[in-house]
Symmetry: C2
Subunit: 386 residues, 2 copies
């Protein structure tokens, strides 16, 4: 057990100020008077407000980013004490939940004071975390124009600061140590559901604050589905087991997986694993500033197979398990230094034989001026045998 309690938590105030100023510069260019933010990562990005209390859907939380000055928190009173520990000083509260006016008038008044037009993230991956009925009421009560945020928040969040990269690196190190201990919890005869529980335990022991996501699969000579819950079926000789995790430390995710052979792997499995590692290395080499997401996709798909229908072979990563660009044939986003992404090739174990057996592999990297830097300790071509 080696928890990284030495690694610093949170961010310097200057980082939040820089994020705010960057947003305000973009708002000015778009003619926006305010941003209205409602989701956990959006609010946290500009404030540092970190709590698992968002798990409860019962209360709405709002952050208003004005054209100038610091953000204004419009939040349930239960969150005031914790918000006061951040750099935010203008904190306006109401006793939520309050059925007749659940923050609507307070938010509308704040927006009127700040002035519009009000930009709201409403593009790809953006959600409105408040009742739609209340949103319509706020629009009416404010009398302001509401429109999309022109992708301002997503674009800012896509480029990570060095402090953010350090947090993702720390999360990756935690999962690396947990994967290295797989032999303690997995092997022939152990139900996959027990492995899932044990893996979460290892991640916590190695320093994860919590484990929002794990997935995996195990089946003879490869698997077919990577999003199902674990069954109670015991692992058997000849199984290939894959475990994937999004573990969190200080609010930032890692997201990568590892494959394990239960007993000696078949030649096909060995070759497929080596192909995945090769595809990952090719992806790493292709992931340079100026390359497009679809270029990295194409480089990996050429090795791993599947062509245009290969799906999503990686994605952005940070305060959410997946965020930002997708390594697909359609995504023309241009890679920039500071972007943290996953490389996640998938391959048929026996290409062309259509047996429905696949394997997937995943690593995490950050785009740098000179080329990508590894955030995970990449797997070698040989699959680990348990």
């Amino acid at each position: 057990m080696s928890v990284d309690i030495a690694a610093p938590r949170g961010f310097e105030r200057a980082e939040f100020e820089a994020r705010t100023h960057a947003a305000q510069a973009a708002m000015a260019a778009e003619g926006l008077g305010a941003l209205l933010l409602t989701t956990e990562p959006e609010v946290r990005y500009f404030t540092g407000y970190l709590t698992r209390f968002w798990e409860s859907p019962s209360r709405s939380w709002f952050l208003v980013l004005p054209a100038r000055g610091a953000p204004i928190a419009v939040i349930p009173s239960i969150g005031a004490a914790l918000m006061a520990q951040t750099w935010i000083s203008d904190i306006r509260t109401w006793p939520a939940p309050r059925p007749k006016d659940d923050g609507v008038s307070l938010l509308a008044e704040t927006l009127r004071e700040v002035g519009g037009p009000v930009g709201v993230p409403m593009g790809y991956e953006a959600h409105l975390r408040m009742p739609l009925g209340d949103y319509v009421r706020v629009q009416a009560a404010s009398g302001l124009e509401f429109r999309g945020d022109a992708g301002i928040v997503a674009a800012l969040r896509a480029i990570k600061s060095e402090a953010e990269i350090d947090k993702i690196r720390a999360a990756c190190a935690i999962a690396t140590r947990a994967y290295a201990r797989m032999g303690e919890i997995a092997g022939e005869g152990v139900p996959l559901s027990t492995v899932f529980r044990g893996f979460q335990r290892l991640l916590l022991e190695e320093g994860a604050d919590w484990v929002p996501y794990i997935s995996g699969a195990a089946a003879q000579g490869g698997y077919d589905d990577v999003i199902s819950p674990a069954s109670d079926m015991p692992l058997a000789l000849g199984d290939v087991m894959m475990l994937d995790t999004g573990a969190v430390r200080d609010g930032y995710f890692c997201d990568f997986d590892r494959n394990f052979a239960i007993g000696a792997p078949s030649a096909e499995v060995q070759v497929a694993h080596a192909r995945l590692i090769e595809a990952t290395e090719v992806g790493l080499a292709a992931a340079r500033p100026g390359a497009r997401a679809c270029d990295v996709f194409a480089a990996m798909a050429q090795i791993a197979g599947g062509g245009e229908t290969a799906g999503r072979l990686g994605h952005g990563l940070g305060m959410q398990l997946t965020e930002g660009l997708s390594l697909t044939a359609q995504d023309e986003s241009v890679l920039q230094p500071g972007m943290v992404i996953t490389l996640e090739p998938g391959t048929e174990v026996s290409p062309g034989q259509n047996l429905g057996k696949i394997m997937v592999h995943e690593e995490n990297i950050v785009i740098r001026e000179g080329g990508a830097e590894r955030l995970t300790q990449f797997s070698g071509p040989e699959i680990v045998v348990l």
Copy 2:
């Protein structure tokens, strides 16, 4: 370690059919031609589709409930195999994420086929889990009228079936066993952050599938905030430590807490704890069919103190950590058999002395014809000493 692997998972098909028929009866009364559902609990309620993959915000998932017949899943192709294991047979997919048309045309076409008006949950606690821009596009492309769902889905979900109650009871039993082992992980000198990790580990060992929520606090003679992340401050003699969890088994939550004294508790802490337990028992007695949420609130607040400003002294519970009614002074929801709620009084440790020290306590119950049934093993008046 005693994982309940014997308890059955999932639900009989008849339960999903009954939920669907109940929704359709309410839809007919409201003149709705379809319901459009986008969130994890809503989709799971009608399908049984259970996966942690929702942690990724990158893909939208839709369920269309027609006026007659089974629901139609309109989902990313990556989810097709798992959805096919549910009772849903009409599964329509697109290769998400697809920037130019991320399910919009497929969903609009499905809605046109089913017919409107389309009801969308947009009241208290309801979120729209899709980009707002895509929602507007679907509305336009379908040519149908969209309106609120008249609270149909929330009202159905509020009344639990016996199978649902069994799942919540199983989650409660897991947490009860984990709390009983607190002496293994907590005590003088242990940092609270280490206790948080250890408690999650115990919950997993005792059978939780995952632990979406824990919170807690520890301070001398009581605490002041119950939603902050754990600090690395070691527990000290005289601290009162509270731990709260929403642990999940088979997709259903428990949500209750326990207080622990680090070393001998003061007389004030002992009295405050006993007062919380008394308030909880009074709440249990008041929680009868026909009583309103505000009546149960008032009964508890009379013992625990705080009056109208005491906040929320409990809430509904089920597929989400908090859902449905609130035990507040304003909530006039009428308790009905089958509702599962928490009783969660809070009290000042030294009433009237305004020292900012509070304690909270929480238990879970189900409303029955003859009165409420305990789902947790209620704490006695004496605080547990570690």
